[in-house]
């Protein structure tokens, strides 16, 4: 199969090798490019790319709408992809890295939905998935399918003959998306020399600021009285000096990090332990919250996972309605605010929302649930 992608396709699928090759026509290495005017433009685009990655579905749609046929703009598009990776790598925040990873996969997915079979199979093959007549080989199938937790993707639920796995037409694109996701999980984050990070510091600061604002938008300021019972139980255990399992430490740290507690804030929680050691805690917390590098996904576990770990404790009535401790937190917080508001005579004021903010509950919960879930509405995965 030999298909020449046209210029516009490079901008659509910037992660393909040929797209990156197109970038090399700038004729200077990326680290020098950042000092040029073109580089500055691309860096600004990279910042928007990350902002879009933080804005859910609307961000993806916006990104697709702004695609252009113009060679110069396509080149900037591709450069913005490369720079956005550098920016989040410098920021060393797992949440940002994971959002951008999701964004790239979702964006490609939406674009592929509009493509003809030739292009679909071409992109698939470039990602290592050779799909012919709705069949592909076992090994690439498994590698892509493990990224998706829905039962229909389990090998046991498939027809497999002599190492060939059948998939339906619709499933092709879902599988490519999964493959892009795993590719990005492995490659998006990269080691960037400190000197380069330093040079683009203002752009990184911009990204981090946006990220913090988003958290504030989503969760408001941190409110300890709204923590779900499981997290309170872990905090109590820490405070009493019990030796808590790694899974609990991870769940709590990830939870606190996601609702916007600062690194110091998280360390403060752990410092309530009588035998608290700052170096150890700092190391663990930084590791989990991603400051120390690594591009793997970091998201707090679902209730179902918490149950499997045996750390879903003291469930209350609100728990029955949620499948994620973060959802518990959000609902509880709203309720408390409403109560307070009623007491003080305030009405219809929701300090959680700033003007123009996306208040769609389902939409933002998809940001933080199961790492293997793959699109909105399918985020109550239990497989971990």
């Amino acid at each position: 199969m030999k298909i020449a992608l046209d210029v516009r396709d490079f901008g659509k699928y910037p992660f393909l090798k040929e797209s990156q090759a197109f970038l090399s026509e700038y004729k200077i290495p990326l680290d020098e490019l950042i000092r040029t005017d073109n580089g500055k433009i691309a860096l600004n685009h990279a910042v928007s790319r990350i902002k879009r990655a933080l804005s859910g579905h609307a961000g993806i749609v916006g990104s697709i709408a702004s695609l252009s046929n113009d060679t110069g703009r396509v080149r900037i598009e591709i450069a913005s992809y490369a720079f956005s990776r550098i920016l989040v790598s410098c920021a060393k925040d797992r949440y940002l890295i994971s959002r951008l990873t999701q964004f790239e996969a979702d964006r490609a997915y939406l674009l592929l939905l509009e493509e003809n079979d030739d292009i679909i199979e071409y992109v698939a093959s470039r990602m290592g998935l050779t799909i012919e007549q709705n069949e592909l080989q076992l090994i690439p199938y498994v590698e892509a399918a493990v990224q998706i937790s829905l039962p229909k993707w389990r090998l046991v639920n498939r027809s497999v003959i002599r190492g060939m796995v059948k998939i339906s037409n619709d499933e092709k694109i879902e599988l490519i998306r999964a493959k892009i996701l795993s590719f990005q999980r492995q490659n998006l984050h990269q080691a960037v020399p400190g000197s380069i990070c330093e040079e683009i510091l203002p752009f990184i600061a911009d990204v981090i600021k946006e990220h913090q604002e988003k958290i504030l938008e989503q969760f408001g300021s941190v409110d300890e009285t709204s923590y779900p019972p499981c997290m309170m139980a872990i905090i109590t255990a820490v405070t009493k000096g019990f030796n808590i399992p790694h899974t609990a430490r991870f769940a709590l740290t990830a939870f606190l990090h996601t609702i916007g507690l600062s690194l110091d804030g998280i360390i403060e929680v752990f410092s309530r332990a009588p035998d608290f050691s700052i170096e150890k805690t700092q190391y663990q917390v930084e590791h989990i919250s991603g400051r120390s590098g690594y591009g793997t996904d970091y998201t707090p576990p679902l209730c179902a996972t918490m149950q499997t770990y045996g750390i879903c404790t003291n469930k209350d009535s609100l728990c029955e309605k949620v499948n994620h401790p973060l959802t518990y937190y959000k609902i509880k917080k709203k309720e408390l605010i409403k109560k307070k508001g009623e007491k003080s005579g305030l009405r219809n004021v929701n300090p959680d929302s700033s003007p123009g903010k996306n208040t769609n509950e389902d939409d933002d919960s998809s940001d933080v649930t199961g790492t293997r879930s793959y699109k909105e509405g399918e985020n109550d995965d239990t497989k971990t």
Partner: protein, 381 residues
């Protein structure tokens, strides 16, 4: 095992390791090794050991004559690092473990026969369904109660646990989801879990209608299915069986009642349906496959619990392979033993049903009896 018996057994092992051709695993220098020794007190494993050349581990075996020899399925940059995290994992063979232990209780021979059936199911799934080629599959008798399958395929060797889990779940039929399975198109003669599930359903319906399922009369629900639905299904049992066996799976055949029943039956892990379904799975041990840092017995070493050889088998020899005859490792000379508990069973084609007391048996059988705790070395008769 008393001191004399132990010394004797160790000598037999030493002779074996001195005179036999001991196989060396692929990339042996990247493997971690572990050994358990004949000793009166310990079942302690000495591990985190590495060898640079095959000669080194061969002379280690000769000198120390361990009771059990293991090597890692994983390849490491520093296989002898004392901490797993420092070993620098670079990949692992894909392995499957069939052990009679969790398949069937019974006499040793019965267990061995039963586990061989599992072996055939496993091999046919690995080749006919999953598409591995015969030459990348190594079949090994474990020397104990089962078989190990080693698959050496460069494309899977970097796989983590979740990818490996897909394969072991397929082999065991774990995670079957009726709504997903029923959706895919396939020939009704094809070997896949859709057909295995439907075959199991037919068998289950026959059982349900038979005298063995007394519960069918007495309880309100059977294996989690409301009695009303059970009755409806039983009414059209013959119709269902006929259609399913012809592969005619229209909406009328596989209706909501059938789906309800399948969903309910599959969640009842200890029910009769699951038992019927399990007969169609190959019941390999899940953790062995998903653990990418496992130690496994070295083919051509000896199993210290039986004195039998951990034996690599050729494909065309599996059918006729008889562990208790073909995997014996020692000489024919006679040894005097003192049976300390009665033994009944087969060994090297002979059946025994013998009481306590002194006997003369072949060296292989003597070691077998010693290792399994039936006998001690005998004095003069």
């Amino acid at each position: 095992m008393n001191r004399e018996t132990l010394e004797f057994t160790r000598e037999c092992f030493r002779n074996y390791y001195t005179n036999s051709n001991i196989l060396s695993p692929v990339s042996m220098e990247k493997r971690e090794w572990g050994f358990i020794f004949f000793d009166l007190d310990a079942v302690h494993m000495r591990r985190h050991i590495a060898f640079l050349r095959a000669e080194e581990f061969r002379s280690y075996l000769k000198n120390l004559a361990p009771a059990h020899v293991y090597y890692s399925t994983a390849y490491y940059g520093s296989p002898d690092a004392p901490q797993m995290k420092d070993k620098n994992w670079s990949g692992a063979d894909l392995v499957f473990d069939l052990d009679a232990d969790h398949i069937k209780r019974g006499s040793y021979e019965e267990m061995l026969l039963r586990v061989k059936e599992e072996l055939f199911k496993l091999l046919s799934m690995l080749t006919d369904e999953l598409g591995f080629s015969k030459k990348e599959i190594e079949i090994v008798f474990s020397g104990g109660r089962g078989y190990h399958i080693h698959i050496r395929n460069a494309a899977v060797y970097r796989w983590g646990s979740s990818e490996r889990r897909e394969l072991i779940d397929y082999i065991c039929g774990t995670g079957l989801e009726p709504s997903a399975v029923l959706k895919f198109q396939s020939d009704f003669k094809e070997n896949n879990w859709k057909n295995r599930m439907l075959d199991s359903l037919m068998e289950y319906l026959v059982w349900l209608d038979g005298p063995d399922s007394k519960q069918a009369e007495s309880s309100k629900s059977i294996e989690g299915v409301p009695k009303k639905i059970v009755e409806k299904i039983l009414e059209k049992k013959d119709f269902l069986i006929e259609k399913i066996s012809l592969g005619e799976l229209s909406e009328k055949v596989i209706d909501n009642d059938v789906k309800t029943i399948l969903n309910a039956l599959l969640t009842k892990k200890d029910g009769n349906f699951q038992k019927i379904l399990n007969e169609r799975a190959a019941r390999a041990d899940e953790p062995v496959t998903t653990d990418t840092k496992r130690l496994i017995r070295l083919p051509s070493s000896l199993h210290g619990g039986t004195g039998l050889q951990v034996m690599k088998l050729e494909w065309d020899k599996i059918q006729e392979f008889r562990p208790l005859t073909d995997a014996t490792a020692f000489e024919d000379r006679e040894v005097r033993v003192e049976l300390i508990k009665p033994f009944s069973g087969t060994f090297s084609d002979n059946s025994y049903d013998i009481k306590k007391g002194p006997y003369r048996v072949s060296e292989s059988m003597a070691v077998f009896l010693f290792c399994r705790g039936y006998a001690e070395l005998g004095g003069s008769i």
